[in-house]
Amino acid sequence: MSVIKVNELTKTFDKKDVVKALNFELNPGKCVALLGPNGAGKTTTLRMLSGLLNPSRGSVTFEGMKENGDIREHIGYLPQYPVFHNWMSGKEFLIYVGQLANLPKKQASDQANSLLKRVGIADAGNRRIGKYSGGMKQRLGIAQAMIHKPNLIILDEPVSSLDPIGRREVLNLMEELKEQTTILFSTHILSDAEEVSDDLLLMHQGEIVESGSIESLRTKHQTAKINLTFGDSNDNYLSSLKSIPSVNESLIERNEIQLLVDDIDQARKDILLKVSQENLPLTKFEISRTSLEDLFMKVVKN
């Protein structure tokens, strides 16, 4: 049973596919991070899911949605840079969008009060939004996305524009919210994704290159890694190390050569043999395991 089902979702701008045939489903009650570098197509994807952009191809369907139904009834959306009517108070704005989401006025008002409390800006509820700080606006933004109790809330880079304190507050808030609803949020920062999300969609150049639960991805990509440092420029030795058969992949990262291998024992033997045969000036030899960050970096660099 999935909350939302995305089928071959594609967006083309000026003959260029910005989002390429995405297929995925989101399960209820999960917090899912759409992770990818800037320009990967995250915002475009989220805007199509929320009904602000029409897909060039493909479809988005919600569980229980009627034929030709309005997907906007089922989602709450927070854009990356939410803009409000600055002349309204936070509470007025929530009631306004609540009524737009077909809540009767009384109910919109009750819901606005409880959400203001929930996101921690109850004191500022009657103040003009123009006077709010960035963190307060972000929290008001989350409240407006929640106003009609949608099945799914979509947050576009909810923490990236905040200072460390605001960011901590919003992450904690998301942690609470995922108890009640399904959350899909985009980020370009892996640690934010790891912190609050259950599942990960890794996006790069308009495609989902990897997806699954954080745990399963961690295990899946936990291959052995050997880090080497040499006395002079690492570049000189990369090519000769690459040629060792037990080395699968190699790259230079932070002045270290990183070799990905399957069989650690075999690889260690081969590498050390090569070092002694060719008398390479090895200064550091370390065996470790890859992390999600390595996966992320690998994807981004290709």
């Binding site: 915002t43 805007r47 009834e73 959306y77 854009p79 939410p82 009517h85 737009l100």
Partner: protein, 258 residues
């Protein structure tokens, strides 16, 4: 329900940014300025010392109808500019700032969004126009002579239709462009173009909306509503409806994220 929500929000916004105060006041000024200065011009000229000795004061030879037409002619200049200026950002401004994203991500139909804003601006414009014209009617009766109340109501109705068209044209360009200044410019340019077309082809395009005030003048002179005035009113209403439909299509074609 949603329609009323947006309508009420627009009302509140125009109240908080003082439009409900200043627009009626400005319409009064626009409506009475010309009749008043015309009436007092000889006295003012005299006071400034522009007239030779022996010039006799006379109430200028202006009929009540001509005086009221002066108000309409000022309306067609300054009134129109004010209307376009207060309407130029209703949709364009929200799209440009990004608030439209938060509104349109709720299940609001584009028709609701456009027509509720359109209707609120119509109410503001009609009320301001009526207040302004009441002031003009008062002064015309006081200074130039009587215009009957029923004739005055007819002036309000028919000229109000023309102003409604101005609101609608501005709303239409609001859905095409998202820079309010550009909406202003293109709308004014369109209205000027329309008036040029009207001047060149007025003998053929008798029911052209811009002919409204000349037919109103005829109505005031002849004391009855001519078929041409009805025809012009009919065409104006048609164009308003077509423009609302066109706005809907133009808005639908837009992607909110751009």
């Amino acid at each position: 329900m949603q329609w009323k929500t947006i309508f009420v929000k627009e009302m509140l916004e125009d109240w908080r940014n003082f439009k409900w105060i200043w627009v009626p006041l400005v319409f009064i000024l626009i409506a009475i300025m010309d009749p008043l200065t015309t009436y007092y011009m000889p006295k003012i000229l005299d006071a400034v010392g522009g007239l030779p000795d022996g010039t006799v004061f006379e109430i200028p030879d202006v009929s009540p109808v001509a005086a009221m037409m002066m108000s309409l002619s000022e309306m067609s200049m300054f009134g129109v500019v004010v209307i376009v200026a207060i309407t130029m950002g209703v949709i364009a401004g929200e799209r440009r700032s990004g608030v439209a994203e938060l509104v349109l991500v709720k299940p609001v139909s584009y028709l609701t969004y456009i027509t509720s804003k359109w209707a609120e601006k119509l109410v503001l414009v009609w009320i301001s126009f009526i207040i302004g014209m009441f002031a003009s009617w008062y002064y015309v009766n006081l200074l130039f002579g009587e215009i009957s109340f029923s004739a005055f109501l007819q002036v309000l109705f028919f000229y109000g239709l023309w102003l409604s068209l101005v609101v609608t044209i501005t709303i239409f360009f609001n859905t095409l462009f998202k820079v309010p200044g550009l909406v202003l410019f293109v709308t004014i340019a369109t209205i000027i173009m329309m008036s040029i077309i009207n001047q060149v082809f007025s003998h053929v395009l008798i029911w052209f909306p811009n002919n409204m005030s000349s037919h109103i003048g005829g109505m005031l002179d002849g004391n009855h509503v001519s078929g041409d005035l009805w025809g012009t009113a009919f065409v104006t209403i048609e164009v308003i409806i077509l423009l609302i439909i066109a706005s809907l299509f133009s808005f639908r074609g837009k992607e909110m994220a751009n």
